[in-house]
Assembly symmetry: C2
């Protein structure tokens, strides 16, 4: 390329007080993870088929076709380069465009693995692995989202023919939202009420073929299509979220997923010895992935906002000199740096959740189901917390980029529009927090994340020892404050609940308070896992010091934001809250010279960021200017429609015009 | 139309405990305002040219052309129906699609009126009123936003030819963002540094012709185009926000706007006797309009979320009966009802701001500039507060609609994407709050909104008398708590500022705290204006009672949200905060039966709402289903790209395929 080499951020990079390469390994999880990610990210970035430049100007059909092309090209690459499963998954990730394959690999296959018998797995998985069939996950319906038990689609056993009849009895029972369903999938795992001999056995999964493998037309009795445009320019419009209705569609009996229960040839419903809770294992897996994605989405937005804040100058010019970089303003720092710290915090809590999942899986294999409820509640709560904060955080980063953040070329509108559904799918965030609460109050044996509740007496009485701002740098002090606040909020809720004669009524009436208590509990988990991380051996000059600063910023900005809860529970005094705020300001100053290096440590390519404002080289203005001219409106000097609709106004000829 | 008449919300409407027609008048401002709005809204809704159905699927060029068509049709209607200025403005408003005319009427004309001399007004205004010229407002530059004094474009007087030479000396001086500039405007008010005889007199406005009135081509020396795609599907992509550079473009001397200062034929710079502050008058006007728009945008989102919440059912089914309406959940109420109350609160504070503007204008005409700084600070702060909360509130309403809120047919993605730039334009919200603070601390005579600060001693010592939940229903009690909190936060800031030897350094270091104090002050203004409104005579059965409930919810939800500030300043005790929360819950129950009627009172047509979820008749599911099939992807059963990119995967023929 003939472009000049610029690095407008070189000065910023020289200020770093730590080993960026070592931090990259910490962020990636290991040297191996960093190497794989780095190699695959560059592979994607260098391939013109995976370019994202036109994404926001394509109309729906072009965008969708372009996505099909990327998926096919990726599959070709995966096969030709003989990529491992890990590499293939990274490749799909760095392509960074929602597509039907996400559901094929992320939901269809795991559903068969988790809920199919060994024979069923042997039959269906090879076809799916080779993509000789393409599948999706058809659970939600037009009238039914989070409440799976409310689904209306029926699967009625017909003993005459040894088949299930899949049927949509109402409009609201239409399957609605499944990704990949609208135009591509040949098969689906369909969730339907199992009816045998007139008895309703609740919701179960069924493998249903939707489209002909010859000509891709929908099979008889199946009506299927796309549900229409979604938020954002490109965003999820590259995905064919679909609508599907069944008019008495028959499938063989052996396409019911039968790991947990089966229906025999004679029409007998027989539960297996695999407990239903096994299904929670899949939810724990999916949700820990969502927490990990939260840290990635937030860190992308933070990278863009941080780099641009070190380029953009505004006000503060003295004697005609340059204006001040906006990153040097305390107002900018107090909004941006907590988000940077949050990205790191979520990264580490997701690392922990991933190890928790491994633990749960091992225990399940040994028929130990004891930790499942807590793991389930805790991933639910963390999914809810991290996705809500990340969605808001991306939008905050957009605002931190001022007007230019509103341009698609900033990458932030896309990032936001792609991200926000995460707050709703896989369990609405508020519903999930209530599940967390239910677990908190369940009186189950206290292990792991709720262990602090075993120290009830201490936590109800303890007084924070903080007397000076620096006292807040002690992790034990921070942890105790968060434990005390979370515990006392739970106790207050319990006291208030006890005033109701019917527990259910109390739970309903106080649900907003319960959600706040659950959030306090989840924030405590994130803080404590960050502190745990710092107890590990972390190599690299200055790396641990930076992480300590980030950990303090994460905890103390939460303390400031939720000061009301720390104060009203008597966990802290006003003075102590004010001291936390003082030290927070000085931590921002400490972080400032490292800000660019800390976002460089995420190791994102310019392709993945997809943002003119977040370019590695900080060469923002010339590129913004260049991008503008690519808009279709600039293809002609005089716009289409001028002669018909503008000139008649200017020339006062409008009365004669036909519009 | 042959469609069946349904009203799924009729039952909800019957529950209302107040006179909805009377409330409509309160919301509209007067019977006259209601009548005009109602008539024009229906006119727009019934005209197929103004349909919005295809908005989110059109590509950029089609969307833009469609917008030009709507504008031309509107102008034709305005002339043919001989609409008054008020009616014409309402018509443009209800068309609900950003277009170049917004800037022509909203910025270009007011700039000439406010900054032009009488002769200049006589020359240019008639042309602009008849739209024989179309103008925009070219202030911001690629490198310069909020800091007007940092603009780089120059206007150098050439005494030889009696002209100004308008020039863009750098890339960053390119005009960037002005709406209507990119493809349509023939003229612009351009802000540039006035240079006379080598001396820089700062930024001034100039009328510059951009395009030929013959063939619409840019005049020599002018490079102009569109800046590209922005956030959202339709949204502001219907507007030609533009980029503009000048290569030594000459304009006659009399095209400098000379109300405040002029340059004579001899090249002498002569300030007039009109003080510069007069320009603040325009800002007060524009910003009070923005506060009014905030109440409208928020109330639209709330209408959609409220109606849909009364249709959508989830969980809570007993004995096979229907599930519970989501509006009946306390978690839903505690997120939705405060936003409903906020919409009303912003409506009344904008009403007050509008009267403040009238007052300011009258005083300015009498050469009384005394209230201008406070009016300026107060509109700046309220602009910032109301737009931030509204943007977040629209997104919250989208989330309250669950998954379906993510569909464009919900109307909420569009509403959000169109709304968010308001947080940035006309003054970045954080910058504005700092201006408010600067005014608070300026020691100017205390009148109007800052009058409470005159009761310093009382506000520093007072203890709230609240002992029972019901005590919080007393407006005086609420007001005192808000005054005490705002005042004590200001005092705390002042104390902390005093610790710095250089005030400027302290201001910078503590700016995040100052912003919080400014927000507390602005919230107090909104609360107090709502309370003032309730002191007026408000006709209509039950209307005042509903407004009292809304006022309490508005104030008490803020109190809950910012409990940390009420507690840490010692304005309230933990017990009092908890009591506020108790009464808040019971207020939600009181509001519940009136929720639908309270959003009906906004009197929005289905056309204006543009939302399947927010339909007046609540007929959500059949219409969602119907809308889906209109997506371009559903034009064919087998999608474009299937044969090229999907079939080769399924048939394992990918190696041979050329992608």
């Amino acid at each position: 390329m003939a472009t000049e080499r610029v690095d407008n951020l070189a000065g910023e990079r020289r200020k770093a007080e730590f080993d960026v390469e070592a931090m990259k390994i910490v962020w990636a999880g290991s040297k191996h993870d960093l190497d794989v990610s780095d190699r695959i990210a560059r592979l994607v970035a260098s391939d013109p088929v995976f370019g994202k430049d036109t994404r926001t100007t394509l109309d729906r059909k072009e965008l969708f076709k372009n996505t099909l092309r990327k998926v096919a090209h990726a599959w070709k690459q995966i096969n030709e380069l003989r990529l491992t499963e890990e590499e293939a998954s990274r490749l799909r990730f760095y392509i960074d465009q929602p597509a039907y394959v996400d559901l094929h690999w992320g939901m269809f296959l795991p559903a068969i693995k988790g809920q199919g018998t060994e024979e069923q797995q042997a039959k269906w998985l090879p076809l799916a692995y080779k993509m000789q069939i393409i599948g999706c996950y058809a659970q939600t319906e037009l009238g039914h989202g989070s409440n799976v038990q409310g689904l209306e689609t029926t699967a009625t056993f017909d003993p005459q023919t040894d088949e299930f009849i899949i049927h949509s009895p109402t409009l609201t029972s239409s399957k609605w939202w499944p990704g990949g369903l609208g135009k591509v999938s040949t098969h689906a795992v369909v969730y339907a009420r199992l009816i045998v001999d007139g008895k309703d056995y609740g919701v179960n999964g069924f493998i249903v073929q939707l489209r002909s493998l010859d000509d891709h037309s929908p099979l008889p009795g199946i009506t299927v299509g796309d549900i229409g445009m979604k938020f954002g320019n490109g965003a999820y419009n590259s995905m064919d979220n679909g609508v599907l209705t069944f008019d008495n569609v028959r499938i063989p009996r052996d396409q019911m997923l039968m790991r947990v229960a089966k229906v025999t040839r004679e029409g007998k419903y027989v539960p297996s010895d695999v407990p239903r809770q096994i299904l929670y294992g899949t939810m724990v897996y999916v949700r820990q992935g969502i927490v990990s994605d939260a840290s990635i989405a937030l860190s992308r937005a933070v990278t863009i906002a941080t780099r641009y804040s070190a380029v953009r100058r505004q006000f503060g010019s003295q004697n005609g000199g340059p204006e001040t970089k906006v990153i040097d303003y305390k107002t900018q720092q107090s909004r941006l740096f907590p988000l940077l710290a949050t990205a790191y915090a979520y990264r580490f809590v997701s690392e922990w959740l991933s190890s928790l999942y491994t633990d749960v899986t091992q225990r399940l294999q040994a028929n130990d189901f004891s930790v499942l409820p807590e793991a389930h509640a805790c991933t639910a709560g963390l999914k809810s917390l991290t996705t809500s904060i990340t969605a808001d955080g991306i939008e905050e980063c957009r605002k931190l980029c001022g007007g230019h953040g509103y341009l698609c070329s900033s990458g932030l509108p896309e990032l936001f529009a792609v991200y926000v559904p995460t707050c709703t799918y896989e369990g609405d965030n508020v519903v999930l927090q209530l599940q967390t609460v239910a677990q908190l109050g369940s009186g189950e044996p206290l292990v792991g994340t709720t262990a602090y509740m075993g120290r009830a007496e201490h936590l109800l009485q303890c007084k924070s020892s903080v007397q000076n701002p620096e006292d807040w740098l002690n992790p034990d002090v921070v942890l105790e404050a968060f434990e005390s606040r979370a515990f006392r909020m739970s106790v207050d809720c319990a006291k208030n609940l006890a005033k109701f004669s019917k527990p259910k009524e109390g739970f309903s009436e106080l649900s907003a308070d319960l959600v706040e208590a659950a959030i306090a509990h989840c924030q405590l988990i994130v803080v404590s896992k960050f502190i745990d991380k710092l107890k590990q051996d972390i190599p690299g000059a200055g790396v641990k010091q930076q992480l300590e600063i980030l950990c303090s910023i994460y905890a103390l900005h939460l303390l400031h934001k939720h000061a009301g809860e720390f104060l009203s529970t008597g966990s802290l005094t006003s003075k102590q809250v004010a001291l936390a705020n003082d030290i927070l300001r000085s931590l921002y100053s400490k972080l400032r010279p490292n800000a660019i290096a800390l976002v460089d440590s995420f190791n994102y390519t310019d392709h993945f960021l997809g943002s003119v404002l977040g370019r590695y080289d900080g060469n923002v203005y010339p590129k913004l200017y260049e991008e503008a001219w690519k808009d279709p409106l600039n293809e002609t000097v005089v716009p289409e429609g001028y002669h018909e609709f503008v000139r008649p106004i200017l020339k006062q000829h409008l009365r004669m015009a036909r519009l």
